[in-house]
C-alpha cells in the first residue's frame, strides 16, 4: 500500500503547476495513494531483461532536410492569445 502524504501531494501539485488549496490536499493525497497502490500490481511482473517499449510499431522515424517549411504569420500564431501585444505573447514580469 503506497501512501502519499500531504507534503508530497503539495509538492506534486506544484510540480504540475496546478494550484491546490490546503484544505483539498488530504483528499488529493488519498486519491493519489489509491491510484498508486493500484499501479503497484506491476511489481508482481518479472521484467528481467525486458527493455522499456519506445515505439509500439517498429518504425524508423523519417528524416527530412533541416530547413524552415512553415511560418511567417505571427498574426495567426497570436490570434488565440489571451494577451498579445506588438507581435508578442504578453505575460507577467519574469525577470526582476
Amino acid at each position: 500500500m503506497s501512501t502519499i502524504d500531504i507534503s508530497t501531494a503539495r509538492k506534486v501539485a506544484h510540480l504540475a503547476r496546478i494550484r491546490v488549496a490546503e484544505d483539498q490536499l488530504p483528499k488529493l493525497a488519498e486519491q493519489l495513494s489509491g491510484i498508486l497502490t493500484f499501479m503497484e500490481q506491476l511489481n508482481e511482473v518479472d521484467v528481467t531483461g525486458v527493455d522499456p517499449m519506445t515505439s509500439v510499431t517498429p518504425m524508423r522515424l523519417k528524416r527530412r532536410a533541416d530547413v524552415v517549411t512553415d511560418g511567417g504569420y505571427p498574426d495567426k500564431v497570436l490570434s488565440n492569445a489571451p494577451d498579445a501585444r506588438e507581435g508578442f505573447f504578453a505575460v507577467p514580469k519574469v525577470v526582476e
Partner: protein
C-alpha cells in the same frame, strides 16, 4: 424512414442515383440535431458550414466523380481541431479557442466531400469513461429503459449518442484506452480503433501520444470500412503515421471467414464477470464457428497488468502533453492578483481551467515521471507494456487471425451512479480495451445483443497490425450473424 437514419452506404447509393440531394440529407440531420438537444451530444453546431459543404457535394455529385463520403453529414468529436470552429477538447482551459488550421483527419474527410454538422461532446481531454468530465455537461445515451438517464460511455460519448440517436450518419471518435469501442458498445453502434499509425494524429488535441488513434463510429461495419478509408493515410505532419497504402476496406467485406483462426483469450474471463457478458461472448464465438472459423483457446498471460500499466503510461504522457496549457498562447488565463508572477499565472490558470479528473491524471503523471520514481513506475510500466505486446505477437505468430473478447464489463450505467466511486473503479471500464492500445493493434466493437434490461451489449474483435481489412471482414460476419437491428425508442 427519415434521411438522417440512413447508413453511409445507403446514403451514398441514393446520392449517386440522384434520389436525394446532399442538401436534403444535411437539412434532415440539422433538424434531428436540433431536436436532439436533450442528448447534449452536439456542443458547437455549424449549420452554415454544413449547408455550404452540402451544396459543394451536390455539385460534385452532379459532375459524377464523387467519392463515397461525398455529401455524408458527420459529427466531429471536439478533440479534432477544425479551422475557425471552437475546438476545446471539452475543457474550460480551451474556452474560446478557434484553431487557425484543420486536423488532417477532418481535412481528409472534407476533401472526400463529407459534411460537418458540428462538434461533439466528450470527456475532458478524452479522460473518462462516461462523458461526465466534460465542461459542457453530460452527454446522454439515447437508450433508456426506466426513468434514469444513462451514460453513452466515454470518452467519445457525444459521438456515440449522436450516431445512435440518428442525429448524424456517422461521427469521428478517438481511442486512447477504449474511448471509441466502449461508447460504441454502450449505444449499440460500431466503432473501430485502427492500428497505431494508420490515421494521422496531426491536429487532434493530444492526450497520450503513444496510444491515441482516431477512428470512425458508425451504424454498420460497412460504414466503418467506408469512413476509415477516407480518414486513413500517410501524413508527413505526423512522424508516427505509417507510410503504407490504404486498402479498399469495403471490398474486403466478403463475408467469408472459413478456415480463419479465432482466438479466445482465457485471461479475459474475469472474476465477477456478469453471466450475461459471458453468455454473449459464448454466443459470438458460436456465430464465428458457424461461419466456418476455427475457434482456438489462447493465452495472453500479462492481461491483468494492462490496466495498471496504462494508468502509469497514459497520465505520464498526458502530464507532458498538457504542459502546453499555461494561459499564455491560447485559451483561458486566470485573473491575477497584484504582485502575482508567472508561476501564479500558470498555477491559477491550470487550477481554474482543468477539471478534477484531468488535474488528477496530470498530477499522477507528474509523480511517476519525477526523479526517484521514474524507474519504479514509468520504466517498469513500459517494460510491462513490451510484455503485453509480446503476448499478442506470439498468438499471431502461432496463426491466430483475430481475437474475440467482450467489449465492456457491463451495459451502460446511469449518469451520476459512479459519482462517489473511487477513480480506479471507473478505470475498470477499460479492462477489455486498453490492451489493444498498449499493443498498438486494431480493435472493433460490434453490437451483438441486448441484455435483460434491454440495453445493447457489444463484442470486441482484435486484429493483426495493419490488418483492418481482415478485422472488418470478421466484424461483418459477426454483425450479420447477430442481426442486431434494435434502435433506441425516441424519448427526446
Amino acid at each position: 424512414m427519415t434521411l438522417n437514419a440512413l447508413t453511409i452506404a445507403e446514403a451514398r447509393d441514393a446520392l449517386r442515383k440522384r434520389e436525394v440531394t446532399a442538401t436534403d440529407l444535411t437539412m434532415s440531420c440539422l433538424t434531428a440535431m436540433d431536436a436532439g438537444d436533450p442528448l447534449n451530444a452536439f456542443v458547437h453546431k455549424t449549420p452554415d458550414i454544413a449547408l455550404d459543404q452540402a451544396r459543394a457535394a451536390d455539385a460534385r455529385l452532379a459532375a459524377g466523380d464523387a467519392p463515397a463520403m461525398c455529401g455524408i453529414p458527420l459529427g466531429i468529436k471536439d478533440l479534432f481541431c477544425t479551422k475557425g470552429v471552437p475546438s476545446q477538447a471539452a475543457s474550460n482551459i480551451l474556452r474560446g479557442f478557434r484553431p487557425e488550421y484543420e486536423s488532417t483527419v477532418t481535412q481528409n474527410l472534407f476533401d472526400a466531400g463529407a459534411v460537418m454538422l458540428g462538434k461533439l461532446n466528450m470527456d475532458e481531454f478524452a479522460m473518462g469513461s462516461s462523458n461526465e468530465t466534460s465542461c459542457y455537461g453530460n452527454a446522454v445515451n439515447p437508450w433508456k429503459v426506466d426513468d434514469r438517464h444513462l451514460t453513452p460511455g466515454g470518452s467519445s460519448g457525444g459521438s456515440a449518442a449522436a450516431v445512435a440517436g440518428d442525429l448524424c450518419l456517422a461521427a469521428t471518435g478517438t481511442d486512447t484506452g477504449g474511448s471509441i469501442r466502449q461508447p460504441a458498445a454502450f449505444t449499440g453502434i460500431v466503432g473501430i480503433k485502427p492500428t497505431y499509425g494508420r490515421v494521422s494524429r496531426w491536429g487532434i488535441v493530444a492526450f497520450a501520444s503513444s496510444l491515441d488513434q482516431a477512428g470512425p463510429m458508425t451504424k454498420s461495419v460497412r460504414d466503418a470500412a467506408i469512413m476509415l478509408g477516407a480518414m486513413a493515410g500517410h501524413d508527413p505532419k505526423d512522424s508516427t503515421s505509417a507510410d503504407l497504402p490504404v486498402p479498399d476496406f469495403e471490398a474486403a467485406l466478403t463475408g467469408d471467414i472459413r478456415g480463419q483462426k479465432i482466438g479466445i483469450p482465457r485471461e479475459y474471463r474475469m472474476d465477477g464477470m456478469p453471466a450475461e457478458i459471458e453468455a454473449l461472448w459464448a454466443r459470438g464465438t458460436e456465430m464465428l464457428r458457424d461461419a466456418g472459423a476455427e475457434v482456438v483457446d489462447i493465452s495472453l498471460p500479462h492481461t491483468k497488468y494492462a490496466l495498471p500499466a496504462y494508468y502509469v503510461i497514459a497520465p505520464a504522457e498526458a502530464s507532458s502533453n498538457l504542459a502546453r496549457y499555461d494561459g499564455v498562447r491560447y485559451g483561458h488565463r486566470a485573473a491575477l492578483a497584484q504582485g502575482d508572477g508567472i508561476v501564479d499565472l500558470y498555477e491559477k490558470t491550470r487550477a481554474e481551467g482543468f477539471g478534477p479528473e484531468v488535474q488528477r491524471r496530470v498530477m499522477v503523471g507528474t509523480y511517476v515521471l519525477s526523479a526517484g520514481f521514474y524507474d519504479a513506475y514509468y520504466n517498469r510500466a513500459r517494460r510491462v507494456r513490451a510484455l503485453i505486446k509480446r503476448d499478442f505477437d506470439q498468438v499471431f505468430a502461432a496463426g491466430i487471425d483475430a481475437i474475440l473478447t467482450p467489449a465492456t464489463p457491463s451495459s451502460a450505467f446511469g449518469l451520476g451512479e459512479m459519482a462517489n466511486a473511487d477513480p480506479v473503479e471507473m478505470y475498470l471500464n477499460d479492462v477489455f480495451t486498453v490492451t489493444v492500445n498498449l499493443a498498438g493493434l486494431p480493435g472493433i466493437s460490434v453490437p451483438v445483443g441486448l441484455d435483460a434490461k434491454g440495453l445493447p451489449l457489444g463484442l470486441q474483435l482484435i486484429g493483426r497490425p495493419w490488418d483492418e481489412a481482415g478485422l472488418l471482414n470478421h466484424a461483418y460476419v459477426l454483425e450479420r450473424a447477430a442481426g442486431f437491428v434494435a434502435k433506441p425508442q425516441k424519448w427526446w
